[in-house]
């Protein structure tokens, strides 16, 4: 059984505002590890895996190798065990080093929760079957597991029993699964690259799966217009799916990207990606039972439907939403494309004085449509209207005002001369209710209750 070392820096991603930044800053750590151990495989930002045999020989034993790696980052935790899956768990419990002796994997993983399998659907199902630990899962009959959970479950079952699949070494890969996407014109943005490589990544995984194999580590090579090559080996604690491959491509671009002067688009300064090459590094044998026979969980179906819609409308065509911090309704809305992690810059739990506390409107305007209010309803210094609004004019149509309330000031950074905005609620004579925003004279539509 292959001995594997995992270096885990807990909370790495939380140190940075964006995912891209976390990958960019992790790059030097990877290089430092590469100076200690020649071949490393990156799991994600904050976690690196490598074979233990070489380092253990070089540093006299596994403890010696762990000590050498610990010097790279003061917060690094080192887990060493048989196989990648167990080593990842060992690193998670390590403080700062945890070595699971050879052959002791089943005893080590047995008391751990099934949530460590990394598959929420299977973990959830197991809990409903009354199985909450990996030890309990390991005791289940392997034929029953295969029938009920299909290939992914069977693989996880092997992990739980401490039987990590020994991977086929690269030279034993019988067929060339390497594939390459060429882009003309070159791609600069990580999200565009992710979108453009999605089909290739799915195809790459499908071709491997058709030969009853599963990819557990792969090489991603990015080539820029100027011929620069960025190569990295990525590993997965269980097995790569198409979406996982796309994530690694995106992360790799983010980790090597330099900020351009335009902060809204992160990428190479005028130097885009022209080719993406995927090559398997480790393949594991897959049983004759494939995914799909046991009925994909519903979230998979949602994902495939939405990926299809994205292929029609573009990556930004399908959005998920979260609520962030902010004072106006628009500031609080955070939309991100399906498949991307939302970037929350403002903490929603802070008080945000001036925000609408509840009873928020169903329509929030994104384009600042100008609306004319009354004739001379401007705001006097005491935060009151000089005259009650008696009509609204929108799109050339005038509506009478039935009721109104406000204005409420929204003060932003008033201590360093930030702007003051005012909010007004107006009900017109048709019964439609509006929320207006103003900086003092002109009014714009913020929202509407419809």
């Amino acid at each position: 059984m292959t001995r594997v070392i995992v270096l885990d820096i807990p909370g790495w991603a939380d140190r940075f505002d964006t995912e891209a930044e976390s990958h960019r800053q992790f790059d030097p750590v990877i290089r430092a590890v590469e100076n200690t151990v020649p071949l490393v495989r990156v799991l994600d930002a904050g976690r690196i895996a490598m074979g233990a045999r070489g380092p253990a020989r070089y540093y006299r034993d596994e403890e010696g190798a762990a000590d050498a790696l610990r010097r790279i980052d003061p917060n690094a935790r080192i887990g060493i065990a048989d196989g990648l899956f167990t080593a990842v768990l060992a690193a998670r419990v390590a403080n700062p080093v945890f070595i699971v002796p050879a052959g002791q994997s089943p005893a080590f993983v047995a008391p751990l929760s099934v949530s460590h399998l990394g598959d929420p659907d299977i973990a959830d199902l197991l809990r409903r079957l009354g199985v909450s630990t990996l030890g309990g899962f390991a005791e289940l009959d392997d034929v029953a597991v295969r029938d009920r959970f299909g290939f992914p479950g069977e693989r996880l079952h092997r992990f739980a029993r401490g039987l990590d699949d020994s991977p086929i070494v690269p030279r034993d890969i019988p067929v060339d699964y390497t594939c390459e996407s060429v882009f003309e014109p070159a791609i600069v943005r990580a999200d565009e690259l992710a979108f453009a490589t999605r089909a290739t990544a799915d195809d790459f995984i499908d071709r491997i799966a058709r030969d009853r194999l599963a990819c557990t580590a792969l090489w991603v090579t990015l080539t820029t217009e100027r011929g620069e090559r960025f190569e990295r080996c990525w590993a997965h604690p269980t097995v790569f799916g198409g979406a996982d491959v796309v994530d690694r491509i995106r992360w790799q671009l983010e980790s090597v990207a330099r900020l351009t002067t335009d902060t809204s688009t992160e990428g190479f300064a005028g130097d885009g990606i022209v080719t993406v090459r995927l090559a398997p590094d480790q393949l594991a044998a897959q049983s004759r039972f494939e995914r799909g026979m046991w009925g994909a969980p519903s979230s998979d179906r949602i994902h495939s439907v939405l990926s299809r819609v994205q292929s029609i409308l573009g990556h930004e065509g399908v959005l998920t939403a979260t609520i962030g911090g902010g004072r106006t309704l628009l500031e609080r809305e955070i939309f991100s494309p399906w498949g991307d992690k939302p970037v929350v810059t403002h903490d929603v739990s802070k008080p945000w004085p001036g925000r609408m506390p509840n009873r928020v409107p169903t329509t929030v305007y994104r384009d600042g449509t100008v609306i004319t209010v009354g004739a001379t309803a401007t705001i006097a210094p005491a935060d009151i209207l000089t005259e009650p609004p008696c009509w609204l004019e929108l799109d050339g149509r005038r509506r009478g005002v039935a009721a109104w309330s406000g204005p409420w000031p929204i003060r932003e950074r008033w201590w360093d001369g930030g702007q003051i905005r005012y909010r007004l609620q107006v009900v017109d004579t048709t019964g439609a209710a509006w929320v207006l925003l103003s900086t003092g004279t002109e009014w714009a539509l913020e929202a509407r209750y419809d």
């Binding site: 519903s298 179906r301 949602i302 495939s304 439907v305 939405l306 299809r308 819609v309 029609i312 409308l313 065509g317 399908v318 959005l319 998920t320 939403a321 979260t322 609520i323 309704l329 609080r332 809305e333 939309f335 399906w338 509840n358 009873r359 928020v360 409107p361 169903t362 329509t363 929030v364 305007y365 994104r366 209207l385 009650p388 039935a402 009721a403 109104w404 309330s405 609620q425 009900v427 019964g431 439609a432 209710a433 929202a447 209750y449 419809d450």
Partner: protein, 212 residues
């Protein structure tokens, strides 16, 4: 091949809606839609997002996914406030000319699909999308006209509560809803926020203004 699928479709139509129980709906609207939403049904609404959310919220409260198609100005905080879990909600704001394809695709997997229809939906497109919904059991809520809808719901008037002439704050809205199913008209009052009791009906108050 086409004939076979058309025949299957007809048999399914003759069998009526699936045996699946109706999906729960806000109690105020329950009487307008026969006790609950029919899986595979198409509900045509006058353009009120509050009404659409009132119809959708209960159906996806426990599980199931909800999509909003064609609402570039959707207020996401209002969606969450109504009780729809944002981690099971997606917005497709501008489907443009792919409207029919996108609505059809999303009906395959989502529990409730809220869509703003283009100016007019051809009857062939409508029946194609309705067939997808019937096959998958999705509930399609369309803001706009829909040929052959399961039910048609219209906003018949709104009472805005809590806001006065220069004072107060909008604390609630009572939305009078009229449903037309097979020529029979029924009405109900949907309170917003949805957990409120509607105010007892009173004669409309006329606002008096000083005349100079």
């Amino acid at each position: 091949m086409f004939e076979l699928s058309a025949l299957r479709e007809r048999i399914r139509e003759m069998e009526g809606p699936r045996v699946d129980p109706r999906l729960p709906v806000h109690p105020a609207l329950s009487g307008l839609v026969g006790g609950g939403l029919v899986p595979g049904g198409v509900y045509s609404l006058s353009p009120s997002l509050t009404l659409a959310l009132g119809l959708a919220t209960e159906a996806v409260a426990e599980s199931g996914w909800c999509a909003a198609i064609g609402f570039p100005h959707l207020g996401i905080e209002a969606v969450a406030e109504c009780g729809i879990a944002l981690d099971r909600f997606v917005s497709i704001p501008t489907p443009k000319e792919h409207w029919a394809t996108v609505v059809g695709a999303v009906c395959d997997g989502f529990t409730v699909v809220i869509a703003r229809s283009p100016a007019s939906v051809p009857a062939t497109t409508a029946s194609r999308i309705a067939a997808v919904a019937r096959r998958t059991g999705a509930v399609l809520i369309v803001l706009g006209d829909w040929p052959g809808a399961t039910a048609r719901l219209e906003v018949d008037g709104v009472r805005n509560l809590g806001i006065g002439d220069g004072h107060g704050l909008l604390t609630g809205r009572d939305i009078r809803v009229r449903a037309v199913t097979r020529g029979i008209t029924t009405t109900a009052v949907l309170p917003w926020p949805f957990d409120r009791e509607p105010e007892p009906a009173v004669a409309p108050v006329r606002h008096l203004r000083a005349v100079t």
